[in-house]
Amino acid sequence: MAAHIMAETACRARPKRRGLSYLFDLLVVLVDRDMKLLYKRSALGVLWTLINPLFQLLVFLFIFRVVVRVDIAHYPSYVFTALLVWQWFQGSLVQAAGAIINSRPLIRQPGFPVSILPQVVVTTGWVHLMLALPILFGFLIFDGVTIGLNALWIPVIQLIQFLLQVSLAYVVAGLNVSFRDTGHLLKVLLQLMFYLTPVFYDAARVPAEYQSLYRLNPMVHIVNAYRSLLIQGEPPDWHALAIVAACALVLLPIGYRLFVRQSHRFVEEL
């Protein structure tokens, strides 16, 4: 057994690791740090994360309620839900781009599980979403939406979205080490994707010949799922969500490997 282990080469040092409870503690501490930093750097603190979608909401309301008439029931709730969900997605990926590059001291810490960094980014975004959720619910009630029992499925949708975002975050963070313009390119892609996600319009309005292509965007299904649970009070398209989850699970180990390899490379290049 020992001889067998000695035979393999180029194996990295594996210091004794703590279990899951340690990783959870680490996640909590690092998310807590990010939240505190946000509080301390601006007087408005966490409110900032709400201001952005609220302004966007006003713009969309003006355009699609006043200028161009769109006929969707509970349109403000409809857009606001999607904006918060999209904000989590976009924020996670933009932040993830710098996950390796901005954390050199942590990565250089022996035994530090580098793979936790994208999870920290995505979890921080999730905390922001959770903080905004009561406001969203108030908004929905004010808008005359009755929130049904189906809303209890929300955590499942969040879990799928979390998985998807962590998988993508690994890839983005890893790429950004080799190609430092990943962040710029990402912003362009995200903007494109924003319009290809049904944030301020109804996905059903996309012409049938484009639907199969359009539905390749996983965020289409995620956003639709939140809406059907919260606004329509109906179960989501579980079939499509299962495919999104499966794709995320396939991407996860690939992104993970890329991330770990790139983080090693990054600290070596001094």
């Binding site: 080469t9 990295r12 040092a13 004794k16 022996p110 790429l175 070596e268």
Partner: protein, 434 residues
């Protein structure tokens, strides 16, 4: 002692890419995602092997770019080796770029939690140790201020305090330690000594031979990523100092030295060090390199000085080849002998009346040094093997010996005085068997 760190044939290659790195994704896509080709590569570490036991402190010395930091990183599991392997058994603590991980906008208290958990403690453990960490850093009054208001000394103290309170079983220290004032440095050293006494394996990188001599049990000298020497700190750092000097003065000769001893082949910087202003041209062990325990030994050193050298020091030491343990360390200066100026060639003999060492394999190390030990003229290390034949019990010494039992009865029965202990080993044993 069991092994905490085992480094085996470790190699790390760095690649240099084109000057216009880091490349952009745009270019890569335009190029068709072909792999960026490394222009050249070099080995930052090559075939490095050593072990560090629990409770042992290993010093690593070498010039900038010798691969010291790379080695420390690989031991810490940061980065991947290109060959060989590192096995580490235990929780690693590190004193590397102290304070780099702080968030300036957070308070000292908040930073301590982040750093302690990042270093491997759970939140509960960090909570329990918090007061001790702050007390050690002497920052009770300012722990709730933002770290950006701290002086660099305060930051270092806090970072050190955190690192040292994470119960490391293996501690990696880089270029230690300009932490705070002298009193605090002393405290840090004491704490490190405490950890070591509790069985922590420590690897220390330093430029300073003095620091390594003072703190370490063993030292490794790295040059261009390769181990030049692995041995007692004073020997290794001494030779390192020699090279520092030799390099700056470009005195190390390139031509083959005059060498007439047939038994051993010296290789520069492997087992032979020095500026060669004086050369040891021949070293002989008389009557031979295989003697019985308790026999006399004479070491005959022939030298040749290229130019007059005032009051040089000759040194002879015997080390056990198994573990490098020094059994004998003599030099002309310590014995109050002042040699005349060396010029031309000559022979120096050291006669040992008897060598009462246990049986086994030893090395005889011979050197001639500058008058103030500043550097070696020529030093032959682990070059001359000495085999001592005889029983090999525990320990180092084997003087003629005999057990002697005295009771009231025997005292009355025989008025004989005790047998004097001046017989050779073999005879004594025979007599006792008979």
């Amino acid at each position: 002692m069991s092994v905490a760190i085992r480094v085996n044939g470790l190699g790390k290659r760095f690649r240099r890419y084109h000057a216009d790195r880091p490349p952009t994704l745009k270019e890569a896509i335009l190029r068709g995602l072909r792999k960026t080709v490394a222009v050249e590569s070099f080995w930052a570490l090559r075939d490095v092997s050593f072990e560090v036991a629990y409770g042992e402190m290993l010093g690593i010395i070498g010039h900038n770019g010798a691969g010291k930091s790379t080695l420390l990183q690989l031991i810490g599991g940061v980065g991947q080796p290109d060959s060989g392997r590192v096995d580490v058994d235990g929780r690693i603590g590190a004193l590397l770029d102290l304070g780099a991980g702080f968030s300036p906008d957070l308070t000292g208290r908040e930073n301590v939690f982040v750093m302690a958990v990042a270093a491997g403690l759970t939140r509960r453990e960090a909570q329990r140790r918090f007061d001790r960490i702050v007390a050690f850093a002497e920052l009770e009054d300012s722990i709730d201020n933002a770290v950006r208001t701290y002086s660099s000394g305060m930051q270092m103290r806090l970072a050190f305090a955190v690192a040292i309170h994470t119960d490391p079983e293996i501690l990696l220290v880089d270029e230690f330690l300009a932490v705070g004032d002298l009193a605090f440095q002393t405290k840090c050293l004491r704490r490190i000594a405490e950890l070591k006494a509790n069985g922590c394996a420590i690897v220390l990188i330093s430029h300073s031979p003095a620091q390594i001599n003072e703190l370490c049990d063993r030292a490794i000298w790295l040059r261009h990523g390769e181990v030049v020497m692995d041995g007692p700190p004073d020997v290794v750092t001494g030779q390192y100092a020699v090279e520092m000097r030799a390099e700056s003065q470009r005195r190390t000769p390139n031509e083959a030295p005059e060498w007439i001893s047939a038994e051993a082949s010296p290789t520069s910087n492997l087992n032979r060090f020095g500026s060669r202003e004086a050369e040891l041209t021949r070293v002989r062990l008389l009557p031979g390199n295989r003697i019985a325990s308790g026999d006399p030994l004479e070491i005959e050193i022939e030298y040749r000085a290229a130019r007059p050298l005032a009051s040089p020091i000759f040194s002879v030491s015997i080390t056990r080849s198994e573990d490098g343990q020094a059994c004998l360390d003599l030099n002309t200066q310590a014995m109050g002998l002042s040699l005349p100026t060396l010029d031309g060639s000559g022979t120096l003999r050291l006669s040992l009346g008897r060598v009462d060492l246990v049986g086994g394999d030893y090395w005889v190390n011979v050197g001639v040094f500058e008058s103030a030990w500043a550097y070696a003229y020529d030093f032959h290390w682990e070059l001359y093997a000495l085999v001592i034949e005889g029983p090999a019990p525990q320990g180092l010494l084997l003087p003629p010996c005999r057990w002697w039992l005295e009771t009231a009865d025997t005292k009355q029965a025989s008025g004989e005085p005790p047998v004097p202990f001046d017989r050779p080993m073999a005879q004594l044993q025979q007599r006792e068997v008979a």
